[in-house]
Amino acid sequence: MTPLIELSGIERVFLLGDSRVHALSNLDLVVQPGEYVAVMGASGSGKSTLLNILGLLDRPNAGRYRFEGRDVTTLSDDERARVRREKIGFVFQSFHLVPRLTAAENIALPLVLAGVEPMERKARVAQALGEFGLSSRADHRPDQLSGGQRQRVAIARATIMRPRLILADEPTGNLDHATGAEVVHLLETLNANGVTLIIVTHDVALGARARRRVTMQDGRKLADETL
């Protein structure tokens, strides 16, 4: 089976003034379709940089990244945008909902960007709202929603294009314990349905739920355990 993600020898260097900071150095990582991976590590360990590179938001300085067996390090910005649109869903710690748009409109954004017809868009958004228990909140703007509801809207938006990979950056970081657990359950349900899930967190309890844990330190992979 072709791995979904194949990183080999990834380097990412930032220039901070005169000093060069190795955010990632010589990193290899292979993720199979359907895996549930937690990327752990203290802040500054390079886990966010790893997530940005996995999500095609950032380019490595060296190394090769194959996504579905295809080398994506050499793609143009627009081609990478297309891959993100069709294959990858993002869930952020601070939700990143557009405050002027309603829940339904926020969920519809990727469909609009992909040029999906309004009729089909409406049907798919309505279905997603139903699946995530947001039907009664469809016309509410983000500031009228609770934290858990906002993150559910964000997850609905991340999954509306039926991506193969979901990247979640501290998805429970801004939520209380109960709603955090609810959101994690939601993400795990998606994973159970075959979507590859990569969660970046420094929450040990959350990391412990994943079948595979990758621990980062100083831009290197410290441990890679599969339960």
């Binding site: 938001l57 627009d78 945008a81 297309r82 993100r84 649109r85 557009v98 954004l109 960007l113």
Partner: protein
């Protein structure tokens, strides 16, 4: 910013309608005089270097009624009306009023495109008749409800019979046609005790023959005045064209000045859009993460700039039109309608500046790095 755009467009619309209104006002005034008109003034208005003849006979010869009659021989001339003008007093039934006395001939009515309300105009066949045609205001002020036709009016020391009343016509280049009394030119000259004319008005056969008429008139008068060119012949067309040109240039100039305010509005568009890009950096990052291409984001911001300037332009247009409406309301004689070219140009300039100044912010948004954009929250 929308307001700045609106004010810019409104300024263009109002100022051009003012300029164009002034132009039309002047053109209309001249047209009221009759359009195929050639005017002869006594004396030479231009200096053509030192002329020894001028040094000896300094005073130019006067224009006379005979001069006017002689002009009828010119083939390109259709009508000729001599004019002698002065002020006098009109008295009827103990009521006295200052009037402008115009001595002329039967051709004057048609030549000046005037209309009679009652009676008839001066008879062509009786150039010495003691008859008068009075203006509408004279009629109402002197005679009131009494029928004026047939009444005997005393003007100066003469008695004349009122044979006609002019239809009210309003202003005509400084001379109010409602306050004049028209008498045969011979009578007027007798009253003023002079045989000179103030002007000779000539109507050419046709607009195309205007220049010919002018040349012929000059030639005839030169022959009659012992070979000396001591009159000035102007065509109304020339005067009209000059005014038209001056006022059109003025309108363009004013429009240009107003257009500068549109450029200023364009810079405001750019600043507003730059602020918008900064404020929405994280949203732009989000759109990029969701898979928006650079072109999509650029177009979104361009569309916003276009919509903002369009809103401003339309608001300004309505504002300008209502401004022009108010102008027409308070200055009824000024036909202050904004010319179509000005409206189109103002709207197009507004939209174009909005788009041009929107390009820089839009490109900046499109080029934002998604990672950095997302982090700024």
């Amino acid at each position: 910013m929308v307001l700045a755009m609106a004010i810019g467009v409104a300024a263009v619309v109002v100022l051009t309608s003012l300029g164009d209104g002034a132009r039309r006002y002047v053109v209309n005034e001249f047209a009221a005089l009759g359009s195929n008109l050639v005017i002869v003034l006594p004396g030479r208005s231009q200096t053509g270097g030192f002329n020894p003849v001028n040094a000896i006979t300094n005073t130019p010869r006067d224009l006379t009624v005979e001069d006017a009659q002689a002009l009828l021989r010119a083939p390109a001339v259709q009508r000729v009306a001599p004019i002698a003008i002065g002020t006098s007093e009109a008295v009827w039934n103990g009521k006295l009023r200052d009037v402008t006395l115009v001595g002329t001939s039967a051709a004057y009515l048609k030549l000046r495109r005037m209309e009679l309300a009652q009676g008839r105009f001066l008879p062509a066949e009786e150039p010495h008749a003691a008859a008068a045609v009075i203006g509408a205001k004279i009629q109402s002020e002197l005679f009131g409800a009494t029928p004026a036709i047939g009444q005997t009016l005393r003007i100066g020391d003469r008695r004349v019979r009122v044979i006609g009343v002019l239809a009210p016509s309003g202003q005509g280049l400084g001379m109010n046609a409602d306050e004049i009394v028209i008498v045969p030119v011979a009578l007027a000259q007798a009253m003023f005790n002079s045989n000179t004319l103030f002007r000779i008005l000539i109507e050419a056969q046709d607009r195309a023959l205007l220049e010919q008429a002018k040349t012929q008139v000059s030639a005839i008068l030169k022959a009659r005045h012992d070979g000396e060119e001591d009159v000035t012949v102007i065509t109304q067309d020339a005067v009209l064209a000059t005014f038209d040109r001056i006022l059109t240039t003025l309108t363009y100039g004013v429009a240009g000045i107003a257009a500068i305010s549109l450029a200023v509005a364009g810079i405001l568009v750019m600043n507003v859009m730059l602020v918008a890009v900064t404020q929405r950096t994280s949203e732009i990052g989000l759109l990029k993460a969701l898979g928006a291409e650079g072109a999509t984001i650029r177009n979104v911001f361009l569309a916003e700039a276009a919509l903002l300037s369009m809103a401003g332009a339309v608001a300004g247009w309505l504002l300008g039109e209502s401004g022009a409406f108010l102008l027409r309301r308070f200055l009824p004689m000024l036909p202050a309608f904004p010319p179509d070219w000005a409206v189109v140009a103002a709207l197009a300039t507004a939209l174009a500046t909005g788009l041009i100044f929107g390009v820089i912010p839009a490109r900046r948004a499109a080029r934002l790095d998604p990672v950095e954009a997302l982090m700024r929250h």
